[in-house]
Point group: C3
Chain length 356, copies 3
């Protein structure tokens, strides 16, 4: 992200994907160009968010980071909801969660573990993150189990979805109050300042420029995301892929690429605690904030309200990802083999999603 | 419980609910009066049990407390079984377990956490309690999974229910042997004497009076429970509630109100370990003792034997409650946010039970 | 195993079961004789494997032990696959896993716990074993959940089975690299040399004799296993047992008897860590090596390929066994009551399998 070539690639890929969209390139080419563009624009948006947060002071800054840290996923999600692609939205939420917990965390632990025999980190935050992750699973499982057991009329299903979404958003906002206000010191000791503000390590942009960049980046994300979403239908059809596979693996990997590279870099600098926090924190943000916000937003579109009921295989995928990630992170130390275990589960899920 | 007005309210509410029952008050009013009466009579029974246990010496006293600590739930359960309300019995067992693990524990942790930043307690007992809780879940899950997969004839279902119930009761009795005889010291260090005998803190009744009160309280509970159960059918019908919702939330909350207030009081005195023990211990008692005893007792009534097969949504509710309670208690410290997480899960389950 | 009478009983039981097979004894008698014979021959094979491993040097020896430690189960499995008894194979895999985690571990912890109040062991290895066990569960669950949700054509089912099996075998081989090469010291500290090489404790055979015995034992296992498998069909029919019950309890207990006695002996010598390692390690070997190898081997037989899709009740049994074994072993200390809990779950599963 901090390389001299970054702005050049950012702008060039954006322009090319704009041309591809309006000139009507073949869909495969348009898909590839806009996917590359989303990756770079999302990285730019992430950097701008951090820079604004840096100037906003710790409290408001932390709030901004926590709320807009997955802005790219949120924008892609809104576009998919608007188009009525509810299956793909849920699949991409599933894919973001398992991608962060298995692929990002797995590659980080593996990369760090090849360089360092054992990597240690403090586990208090891991414990709390684990409990939050369990809340997220429960909130997604309970409506699905109840509804698979006994059919509800759509109005009740939507009411249940809204209430569960409201509980999740409230839990997420109170988590910010807890971690940034009432128990800030308690958790700060834990992460020893490492991951909280990555901008510190490098020169941040000035305040005015940060805000300008944030606005520009948000607009750019909205555009390239729309172009990308536009190619998904023909792509899915052409390669005979299921909507759920494209959502869970293609969209999710593209949308989270920036987090992926950041976490792996940190792990290789022996900051495995920060890498774990990015991976786990990002999946929490998706489950507790992005997903329920999309449920609320879906009520604004003509495509009709989206419920929070995930399919059995999506829930199974999220469940196993949380289960093994929790088992591996809870002892406060990692090694290369644990990274491989996470990747093994990711491969098994990927093949299963592809074949089903 | 220890307030001067307690005997007055106890007697007045008992008399009013008797009048309500025999004079034929409107059901809604009768329900409210008898519910209030059950709460106070159950509190009186709990206090009398503790007082008798205090005089019986530590070993026998501990056994009495452990066996009759949920006498009110047991009596209500027997009355429901006698009337053939098997669905409501299982729902109220479910509700008692999740009520203790989510509502009681959640309110205690929240109330304690608002007053104290972090509350700590020893985790050895928590670990063992966790394993017992897992046995309880397994014992309830296995018959259900096997039976949902392959239909069994009723005789085999009842045989399986009796064997599983026998295993649970044996496990519970051996737990008393373990915790009160062979490994008493090992666990006593853990709870530092706090929760074992709450009567110590206040003047106990004399031996004779304790026994007299225990007999009176048991008779009173039996009466008011019968009056309460008598109002459930018309109430359920009138408000369009399901038997499962009334059992899991209304009956369970009324029956456990005494434990609720005791646990919250202890948490606010910074005795969070004792509060955790009440909440977890009470749910264990319900799952490992009250539920299987009701299965055995059901064979004595003409309403026919009750099996131990719970519905999918009851098992899901118990499963998620144990899962998050275990995650939150296993690190030996609590804070206000963890209390909120427990309450969030309780709300999600409550809304789901209400809507289904 | 090390008793003077062992060779005599070994040879006599082998000869008798040969006579029984070829002379056509009544099936019940033939079954009993060949089951006894399998138990002793498997013990002999285990000892010969260890002795060869002892001479092969630590690295190759460890590999031999890890790969052929469950050779008897593998041979029985191959014979069952050849005969097309896929249900029974999967049931016996299920039975081996739950038998090791519940029966062997339960009896060891109980026997050790009666003699010693608390038995302690280092938990780092337990943590890693736990994560491996979770990988095994996930690998067995994911295909089943996906396939129960959406029917796949047989070719895709077999492809998925092969890929999952490949991932499991790769994970197992890399585990050997991890535990014997890259992180040998890290884990060696943990097990303080105890369990790694049980042959050290007694005089091993000479190198040449060890190899000779290994060949003889392997041939003997193949023969007696074939004779045993040959009696299963008529036995199953005669006593009205299901294939799944015979596989999960009869075949699995016979095939694992040697591990059972070894683990219990170690626990009674206060080497509970070594006993835990045998029980957990053996179930891992079954899940991560024997089961997937059988899937691959099944493609060589005319009886057609076997998939890796287990039934719901098999998965439930494996899941609950791992769940409670993990909960009990993760705190690094055991007592008699925890042994009883494991046995209680084994009894519940046994009764359920018998009745269904």
């Amino acid at each position: 992200m901090k390389k001299w070539w970054f702005p050049a690639v950012l702008i060039i890929s954006f322009i090319f994907s704009a041309i591809g969209h309006y000139a009507g390139f073949p869909y495969t080419l348009e898909f590839i160009i806009s996917a590359v563009s989303v990756i770079f624009v999302a990285g730019f948006l992430g950097k701008a968010t951090e820079s604004v947060a840096h100037h906003a002071g710790q409290r408001l800054g932390g709030f901004l980071n926590a709320t807009f840290g997955n802005a790219a996923e949120l924008i892609i999600g809104i576009l998919l909801v608007k188009e009525g692609h509810f299956e793909m939205v849920k699949a991409s939420i599933t894919g973001s969660i398992i991608g962060n917990l298995l692929l990002v965390l797995g590659l980080s632990v593996l990369a760090g573990g090849i360089k360092y025999k054992i990597q240690n980190y403090n586990i208090s935050l891991a414990g709390l993150n684990g409990s939050l992750m369990i809340l997220a699973i429960i909130a997604l499982f309970v409506p699905a189990i109840f509804l698979h057991t006994k059919a509800l009329d759509p109005a009740d299903t939507n009411l249940l979805s809204l209430i569960v979404s409201g509980v999740l958003i409230a839990a997420y906002l109170l988590w910010l109050v807890f971690s940034m206000i009432t128990h800030k010191d308690y958790l700060a000791d834990v992460s020893d300042g490492g991951p909280a503000d990555p901008v510190h390590e490098e020169a941040a942009w000035s305040k005015g420029r940060s805000i300008l960049y944030l606005v520009i980046a948000t607009v750019m994300v909205a555009f390239v995301s729309e172009w990308l979403v536009h190619t998904l239908d023909p792509m899915t059809e052409r390669f005979g892929l299921s909507e759920i596979f494209v959502g869970a693996f293609v969209v999710a990997i593209v949308g989270n690429a920036a987090e992926h590279s950041a976490a792996i870099m940190l792990a290789m600098k022996n900051k495995i605690g920060a890498a774990v926090e990015i991976a786990v924190g990002s999946s929490l943000q998706i489950a507790l904030f992005v997903a329920p916000v999309l449920v609320f937003i879906s009520h604004l579109f003509a495509s009709g309200p989206m419920d929070i009921v995930f399919t059995v295989i999506e829930l199974a995928a999220i469940g196993v990802a949380v289960f093994i990630a929790k088992s591996i992170t809870q002892d406060g130390s990692t090694n290369w083999y644990e990274g491989l275990l996470l990747l093994a589960v990711y491969i098994i899920l990927g093949v299963s999603f592809y074949l089903v």
